[in-house]
Symmetry: C2
Subunit: 327 residues, 2 copies
Amino acid sequence: MSSLHIGLDAGGSSTELLARASTESLSSPKEETRLQGDGANPERSGHAEAVGTLAELVGEAVRRHPATQLRSVCAGVAGAGSGERRQALAGRLHRALSEVAPRARVRLVHDARIALEAAFGNASGIIIIAGTGSAVFARTEAGTLERAGGWGYILGDEGSGYALGRAGLRAVARALDGGPATRLQALLSNTYGANSRAALVGNVYEAELPLQEAARTVLEAAAEGDAVAARILDEQTDALARQVAWLAEREATIAPQVVLFGGLTKNAHYVETLGRAVRGALPANCSVQPASCPPVAGALRLALREDPGREAASNAPEAPPVVSLCA
Amino acid sequence: MSSLHIGLDAGGSSTELLARASTESLSSPKEETRLQGDGANPERSGHAEAVGTLAELVGEAVRRHPATQLRSVCAGVAGAGSGERRQALAGRLHRALSEVAPRARVRLVHDARIALEAAFGNASGIIIIAGTGSAVFARTEAGTLERAGGWGYILGDEGSGYALGRAGLRAVARALDGGPATRLQALLSNTYGANSRAALVGNVYEAELPLQEAARTVLEAAAEGDAVAARILDEQTDALARQVAWLAEREATIAPQVVLFGGLTKNAHYVETLGRAVRGALPANCSVQPASCPPVAGALRLALREDPGREAASNAPEAPPVVSLCA
């Protein structure tokens, strides 16, 4: 009978699932299925709802592979918090999956863990996650997880969508006061009312528009040469690069290879600017590049590794990398 | 019969009342009463509660001056918003006072108006308000009100208690990541858990400790020579001084005299640093000094000026400045 292994990447706004059905033979064809569901951040939506979303996606994947046995599930969960909370959540997920997969191994890890796995497998390296928030993680040569940044929207998250958007709107406020003119004012006038004090204040404080949605406009204006927007982007990416440097200084046994994840790293100008800043902050032999595999591929790899039958049977060349999703 | 005039300064955390009982004769003795009540910000606590607080204070002042007739009330109200809202609030206040003072004139103005009156009377000048938030206002020679800054805690409020406190806590987060060491970490360890990531994050995001309460510590550390804290203070006061400069550039008919209001301006090191920044940003002939009269004294002056009987009777040397509260 074929085996089924499932990786999950549970984020705040959506959850990715990657399933692989395979026989033990390495030469037989593999079948991969990718599903997407709602966000499943237990800190935001509560444990029950997060677990419900994950279990539903797993159930759907199992239904699509009727002639398989689900052997292992690995979920990377954003905001799963400390070890204790994560364990409680893992127990809940295990119970929720007991019907569809009574014998499957269920593992729940920090979301950084699956991204590190996707980027470096077992090797050492550094990842930068730059989405609505931002954070830097590393895997040391001894395999421990280290972090810098990721302080949230009040205390930090430099270089994140929220920080870029907020800085852009602040620049607009300054322009309205008589400060440096910026194209951002015209570009944000429809969405944020950036042409008038009352409209801007109303949109930010009363309508509570998400500030991170202004980030795209800041990137656009910076790429077009707007000096104010370009300065914002430089300052923010420099601050994020500094976190990488601090982390690398703190731990000598981290390989100076950096992989970029997160929504912002789909923007070429952002990647170029952040890449320059990181190369400036690290030793000359460092490498910096956007991720070629999504975090969910790392989750699937961990799920494959988690399956004891599999290891025993194959006496194990390392589980082949998940390639279908990777560039 | 003696007349009673009342000024009110309604702020977010407390309301000040200043009452003066006097006869028409300028030479007769004046009696002043000062009362303090709860905050009365209509945007925060609602119109009904704000008006209730003001009416209660006025009633108490009237009871303390039984042999007088209340002739006029002027209230400076923080967050009274646009003209329309202010008018609705004024109508409500008028009705609330109709029992204690059926014939009194009731006026409700922007809180900046009473501070400008306290600082400059009818003359032109600039005020900086630096408390939990910050803002800059000016009265032009033509008597119109101009403003800069005051964008609230998300979009600005440079140089405010909130901005200083948040910057201090961000500096602590950076220090924990491996960035520049700062005495702020030790100084804020008891109150904000600044010695550990988990405690700091928990205090800011879960316990939602007010960030502005870290401002005093930032000022203390800056005064003691902590480089990180000193830089925060310089950056924040420079940004606030720039707002003053923009405002002065925008309107040529504003006298370059600056008076400082707000809780932060009770700190000598803050006043010194902000004063230096403002003098650096304005023409050489400018003056910068802390307020010698509280805003409520401006409200009382406006109340005195509001009384038509008074003007007609005295054929009017200008109402004498309120001196008892002023340095």
